[in-house]
């Protein structure tokens, strides 16, 4: 059944929640309170229905949606792993949920203690010296991290206004750089999936503030040249920024700080198991090496006179990036996730993430040959070029068999170079069991078999959803992609 808007279900005069306060139920607005010209005269247009009708509306709408709780979600670059239910409960305890951010500091000791510990955990996991939990999401972490870089060079009176970014970077990287006032220079990818070192060197001059890199990259590969890159960048006086959205591949195995990165952000909603909520909220903690600490946004949590407390007195800070202290409810989940796993557990998670991706890659190789010869990390990029149908149609058919499609150009937020436009980026994550992986693989194979005999079924898929295939402005989109190409 098609989903319905709530508004036609409204029945003026019905109100689900009875709002009663005999002491103040005075009827209309008191004339003295407001300027009469400002007083609302008409209704707003909110729906009006009984509580049970509200419950049914949203209960039934939810059934036209698919989450990790429903089945596999191998959406490359999005790390759709299991969101532990214990974290849902423990992140909404009254002692946090009802805490007001403007309470006197000493009345929020539990909050400061948790945040300080989490800062230290994330610093340890990333190999950085100091972490701020304030940013609201990955892109916001980039913003805060790049601001620190900018402030660093301002202090040095270096006039550096260029950021180097590989073409495979996530769209937020150049977008954040632009918001900080940087100009982006795009570095191509070589045919083996690594960032083109020569091209980087070609761009490397005194105007370059830094390089933003994801490692493993959004192509699923670990850049083996990372040490060389770090050396060159640093030799040039520039800084190295780590987009930690793919950290899920390497927890306990290697650390951006040890690779030579100066600034890191991580996406707790990928690596540390925050549910995505149909788009957010997440959190994007940002970590830095010691020399950049003073530039982080205010406030940060520090040990002050032996107690954790927010430190607002940061004259060198690059400024505030949002109200208050960060996404507390989200951060609590990350905290729980780390404590549940411990060091071994986090490492095993990364091992299994990489194992699962390589297993899918191996088991699908005959059908969907890997784009790159190199072993993959947490996700694999497979070529759909030899399929009998186009990749966009192919993946839609997976929906009918209970598998969320992998990431494609135009159906995800990943940016691929033109040559990969029939490629699929598959990230099973570590929370898929062997049975589930085999199930996903079987669905891919089933659709491939079908492509050979009944392509029509695929071209018109999905068939089991409330709506048929949606075309959007796919062409318009690709044109735009061209138009904004570097």
């Amino acid at each position: 059944m098609k989903t319905q808007s709530i508004f036609p279900k409204s029945r003026p005069g019905v109100s689900g929640a009875s709002i009663i306060d005999a002491d103040f139920d005075t009827g209309p607005t008191d004339a003295s309170w407001f300027d009469p010209a400002d007083v609302r005269e008409d209704s707003i247009g909110l729906p009006e229905m009984s509580e049970v009708d509200v419950v049914r509306h949203f209960t039934n709408l939810s059934r036209a949606a698919h989450g990790v709780d429903n089945g596999p979600y191998p959406l490359g670059s999005c790390t759709m792993k299991y969101n532990p239910k214990r974290n849902d409960v423990l992140s909404t305890l009254d002692g946090f949920a009802h805490a007001h951010p403007r309470q006197p500091e000493p009345t929020l000791q539990g909050l400061w203690d948790m945040m300080l510990e989490l800062q230290e955990f994330i610093a340890e996991i990333t190999g950085m010296d100091f972490v701020s939990l304030q940013p609201a999401a990955g892109a916001h972490g980039e913003f805060a991290g790049l601001l620190a870089i900018r402030r660093h060079f301002e202090q040095l009176h270096h006039d550096r206004n260029i950021i180097l970014i590989p073409d495979s970077a996530h769209g937020t990287n150049p977008a954040s750089a632009a918001m900080v006032g940087y100009q982006c220079k795009i570095i191509p990818t070589t045919s083996d999936g690594m960032m083109d070192l020569d091209a980087m060197e070609h761009h490397l001059d005194q105007r370059v503030a830094g390089l933003m890199l994801t490692n493993p990259s959004t192509l699923g590969l670990f850049d083996e040249n990372i040490q060389k890159i770090a050396e060159k960048i640093h030799a040039n006086g520039s800084l190295l920024y780590y987009d930690g959205a793919n950290l899920n591949a390497i927890m306990g195995i290697t650390r951006p700080g040890d690779m030579g990165f100066d600034v890191v952000h991580i996406n707790t909603h990928k690596t540390l198991s925050t549910p995505h909520g149909g788009g957010g909220p997440g959190a994007g903690p940002v970590g830095v090496k010691a020399f950049l600490e003073k530039y982080l946004p205010a406030p940060v949590i520090r040990r002050i006179h032996g107690r954790a407390a927010p430190d607002d007195n940061r004259p060198m800070s690059a400024g505030r990036v949002k109200s208050f202290f960060g996404h507390v409810e989200v951060l609590l989940r990350a905290y729980c996730y780390i404590l549940t796993n411990g060091a071994d557990g986090l490492r095993t998670a990364s091992e299994n993430a990489v194992l699962n991706a390589n297993y899918m890659r191996a088991r699908l190789a005959d059908l969907l040959p890997p784009v790159f010869a190199q072993r993959c990390m947490h996700e694999c990029l497979l070529s759909g070029g030899s399929l009998k149908v186009n990749a966009f149609d192919f993946v839609k058919r997976l929906i009918d068999f209970g598998v969320h499609p992998p990431t494609l150009v135009g159906a995800g937020c990943v940016h691929f170079a033109k040559e990969y436009d029939a490629a699929m980026l598959i990230e099973p994550t570590e929370s898929e069991s062997r049975i589930s992986l085999d199930f996903i693989i079987e669905q891919f194979r089933r659709v491939a078999r079908e492509a050979a005999v009944a392509p029509y079924m695929i071209e018109t898929a999905p068939h089991t959803t409330d709506v048929a295939k949606i075309i959007k402005d796919q062409n318009a989109w690709i044109q735009l992609l061209e138009a904004t190409k570097y």
């Binding site: 989450g67 299991y82 340890e124 909520g277 949002k322 729980c336 557990g345």
Partner: protein, 465 residues
Amino acid sequence: MDEKNPVNGYNVHTLKDRREMLDAIGLSSIDDLFSQIPSEIRLHRPLNLPPAQSEWELDKRLHALAAQNATTRTHLSLLGGGAYEHYIPAVVPTLTARGEYLTAYTPYQPEMSQGILRVLHDFQIVMGRMLGLPAVNCSVYDGATALAEAAWMACSITNRRHVVVTEALWPEYSQVLNTYMRGRNVTVSVIPTDAMTGSMDLEKLAGSLKDTPAAAVLTQTPNGYGVLEPIEHISKMCHSCGTLSNVSCYPMMLGCLKAPGKQGADIVTCEGQSLGLALNGGGPYLGVMATHEDNIKFLPGRIVGECDDLKMEKALALVKESREQHVARDKATSHICSNQALLAMRILVYLSAVGEHGFQKISRLNASKAHYICERLCELPGVRRTHTGHFFNEFLLDLPCETAPLLVTLQKQGIFGGIDFSRLYPNSDRKLLLAVTETKSKTELDRITDVFRRAIAELGGVIRS
């Protein structure tokens, strides 16, 4: 690692699974999976983290931490300042916690996400109606970033690089604005408020607008003193010089008051926390942005719209993505990618649960309770309201004593008596900002007044005339 059973809080593989999977890949050990990572940068020790904990130990630890926080439940709170303790019907967390909503990604595959898209689409509609402007996105990070993003939008729309802003923004909002504007190379000038009314000094505004062509005037209503601003008037002044009127508002007031969008504002933003979100120690909240249809191409964030499906029937999908970072990259309207979608869903459920009638009633209760206690407190010797301008549910008081010790005394009686105004704005001695919401009963308000009376008497404040 390979020899013993894998250890993980959410284990999925047996040792045997792992071995068989390695076989299928053609590798002999887990270590081989990571052979492309140079040994020098490998971590050759376990991470230094606390040992893994069973769920019951974790549960104890989190409860112990939570118990270290006082809250608006343990204390009677009059705290506001941009985050408010409103009632959240149980339907709100219950419905939005359904796994299908909670654990879905951004609806990139619209065919299997119509439920989420429908909720977000209705969210856009409902917030459009609330704020009085039709084009709404699916949220940005919070009220402060919404204000800052809207300032940049105005710059893009007008092609100007200067904005004018009231001094009476929440201090965090002005700090965020400055951070965002600095990167974009936008200059910011500040307009003071009138000392008596507490609302924007319109003469100074006129002067400023004449001096430099501004992309927008950024107004906050109620402002940082709780005073309502003359949006209609300000908007007219803006429009006469090609400037946009940007208004950041407190949506709870909209049950009593006209939508800023209906009073001439061009971009209305708000912090959505008051509409069904818990205080959460400061986040996550969400910023909402509304504007005219014409301005959509400058909006940041996701937008849900109607499309056709293969059968030429209406369906919903994310649209107008050419504004967004994954398409436009460094030319995008904003970097925002992950946003606050689940909280946008909460707002729609909240507004549906209380309904038109209920929302108007809640809004009125806020105003009437705030006016009630304001009157009661102003009857105390030496206490008076600082400003004469109208207010909704938050107001600034001049006290006959120092603010800090008064708050300490109140706190000992289980009351968070408001915000020491000097913590928000410098040079604000003996001033207290109080917010009152529907959650306070008359009995509680009377008790608070009583405790205030005794505390002030004890502190022996100098009585002002």
